[in-house]
Amino acid sequence: MPHAQPEAPAIEVHDLTVAYHRKPVLWDVDTAIPRGRLVAVVGPNGAGKSTLLKAVLGLVPLASGWVQVFGRDLRDARSLVAYVPQRESVDWDFPVSALDVVTMGRYGRLGWIRRPARSDTEAALASLDQVGMKAFAHRQISQLSGGQQQRVFIARALVQDAALYLMDEPFAGVDAATERAIVELLRAMRAQGRTVVAVHHDLQSVPDYFDYVVMLNMRLVAAGPVASVFTRENLQKTYGGRLTLLDEAAEAVRKA
């Protein structure tokens, strides 16, 4: 696993505000996510869950605040972070095979211009094997089922051999067998000391799959171990309607 600053949390977010078209979608989020945890990010639609992941990855401009990964600026820690975007975010008719997609996970360490070597292909095949997709390596990706496509995405993250994995709805639209396989993988990753932060929709499975939870609804409602934080009261705060003043303030900022 790549080198990380000792002791620093996996993710530290300080007073983070993110806005689209000037309209804030995340307000003043301030939290630290410890290492070696399986972390669920939950909240209603439009709560800013994906945005939080993208902010950590530096994919969206920050209106205020800062993010650190293992105590370092993201630019110095890219090799420590792997990202599994939402399945719908890419065009599955793109003319590439499952193996091609997984090999993309090695591009970061290859840098500009250098071509993937045999060792990269072998690593990609090994990681396809880990998700039970080796037999499909040479399939064009549109010929895969939803669950298989998700496994390919996860294999692509595995091949990055990162310390922190950010996954946007890894369980969305997958079959039961794939869901079980992914959960097994996540547990194995935690056993290796890796940190996984996943946007998750099925509240019922949160206590089974995860041990740490971040509850969002445009602002941070609560964050901490599932056992102490994932309570009825906090769920009500998270899902029981938005803070209407936040919405109104966001409108006011946009119109100004």
């Binding site: 530096g58 990202y83 793109f94 003319p95 590439v96 993309m104 591009y107 500009w112 993937p116």
Partner: protein, 430 residues
């Protein structure tokens, strides 16, 4: 027209014309693949139009038609189009395609205006920019190692080599940025840099191609080879090669068409490109109209054959056939095919299953009754809603699925009390 073509003999000047169109096609078609894949084909159209004001402005500013001045001007407005379109779309109120439509038409009109103003006292011909001079490439030549090579051919060859090399060198970067730009950014690749480099390449190639082939053929060469190749393969590397080949074939076929009809070469090559695309759309092995129709027909025939087998099995069990409809042409073909395959024999004018036919029919009935049982037990459908869904699904149940179903329902009698035929490994072909 065939006779006309066979009477033609190609002169050196014809080969230069074909060659110029071909190198132009490779120079445009190869980067064009990425426009097609990124669903930005309109941007190719936009850029190729919007460089006109760049050409005019560069001429008015530098007072020369020097290639480098023209390139600089055109690349500037080409990029400006992409950047302005994205900017207008970011205003929030205007969709991206509309933003592009506004930007490039305005810039194009501005270019026409500038040219009209500028050409009052100088020789700058809007017609040349729009239609190109490909019919006469051989008239303007440069001496290369003792051979008189048309200037357009030289310039476009340079661009073809340059673009193919750039795509080769940055193959990995173009692939990841086109497929998943968020991942590319997260891995530290500058998506914007790759994007605008691609656009700069395309803008520069458009300028170089304009003089030779005109704007209609440039737009066609940017998009049609890539779109054609997309129908023929699902590997990016092959798609790039096929796009280049399509462009070359269109150059050759288009020139013959022009010779035979007396039409302008640029127009004829565009028509040839359209013809190649239509050919791919019709005859592509996987995505073509014909292949799809054949696959559908084969499936329909298989279903009829299987229905006939299943009915014979029910007769063999002493039950009435379950589907009653007047036999159509397809049923007669199916019956003929079953006899030919040796699954059915005609005895005294009555059809009967052979051993192989019986085995196949048993598997089908097994699928049908397993599915009925599954629907009744697990989905909870009432008894009179079981047959039709099972009748549709039975044709698609694989060995594996059948095994899982058998394990799941754990009975050998279907909801109507009929036996579910056991799985016999002595079955014929699957």
């Amino acid at each position: 027209m065939t006779a006309a073509i066979s009477n033609l003999s190609l002169h050196a000047s014809d080969w230069w014309t074909i060659g110029t169109a071909a190198v132009c096609g490779v120079a445009c078609g190869v980067p064009g693949v990425y426009l097609v894949l990124r669903r930005m084909s309109m941007l190719g159209d936009a850029i190729s139009h919007a460089i006109l004001p760049g050409l005019a402005a560069a001429f008015l500013f530098f007072g020369t038609r020097d290639v480098l001045a023209m390139l600089a001007g055109a690349m500037a407005t080409g990029m400006l189009t992409a950047w302005l379109s994205a900017g207008v779309a970011r205003l929030g109120k205007v969709p991206e395609d509309a933003a592009m439509g506004v930007v490039f038409t305005s810039l194009f009109a501005l270019g026409v205006l500038l040219i009209t103003l500028g050409s009052r006292n100088v020789d700058l011909d809007p017609g040349c920019v729009l239609y190109g001079l490909i019919d006469a490439v051989a008239l303007d030549t440069r001496d290369v190692l003792g051979v008189a090579v048309p200037r357009s051919f030289l310039i476009l060859s340079v661009f073809a080599v340059l673009n193919v090399s750039l795509v080769g060198v940055f193959y990995k970067e173009l692939k990841i940025v086109s497929f998943d730009s968020a991942l590319a950014s997260a891995l530290g690749f500058r998506s914007g840099v790759v994007h605008y480099t691609l656009l700069a390449m395309i803008a520069a190639t458009c300028v170089a191609s304009f003089e030779a082939v005109g704007s209609i053929l440039v737009v066609a060469m940017l998009i049609v080879p890539g779109a054609t190749a997309y129908l023929l393969t699902d590997r990016l590397s092959r798609m790039l090669v096929i796009a280049a080949v399509v462009a070359c074939v269109a150059a050759f076929a288009g020139h013959l068409l022009a010779l035979a009809t007396g039409a302008a070469v640029a127009g004829a090559v565009s028509v040839a490109l359209g013809g190649l695309f239509a050919g791919a759309a019709l005859f592509s092995p996987r995505y073509g109209v014909v292949a799809r129709a054949l696959r559908r027909a084969a499936l329909a025939l298989r279903i009829r054959r299987e229905d006939a087998l299943a009915n014979l099995y029910r007769a063999h069990e002493g039950r009435a056939a379950e589907t009653r409809r007047a036999p159509g042409l397809l049923d007669h073909v199916a019956a003929w095919a079953l006899r030919r395959q040796g699954l059915v024999v005609a005895k005294d004018g009555v059809s009967a299953l052979t051993d192989a036919g019986l085995a196949r029919a048993r598997t089908l009935i097994r699928s049908h009754r397993l599915w009925e049982t599954y629907l009744a037990e697990r989905v909870g459908l009432p008894a009179d809603h079981l047959h039709d869904p099972a009748h549709r699904v039975e044709h698609f149940i694989t060995d594996e699925l059948r095994g899982e179903l058998a394990g799941d329902v754990g009975t050998d009698v279907d909801p109507q009390g009929r036996e579910i035929p056991p799985d016999r490994r002595a079955e014929g072909e699957p």
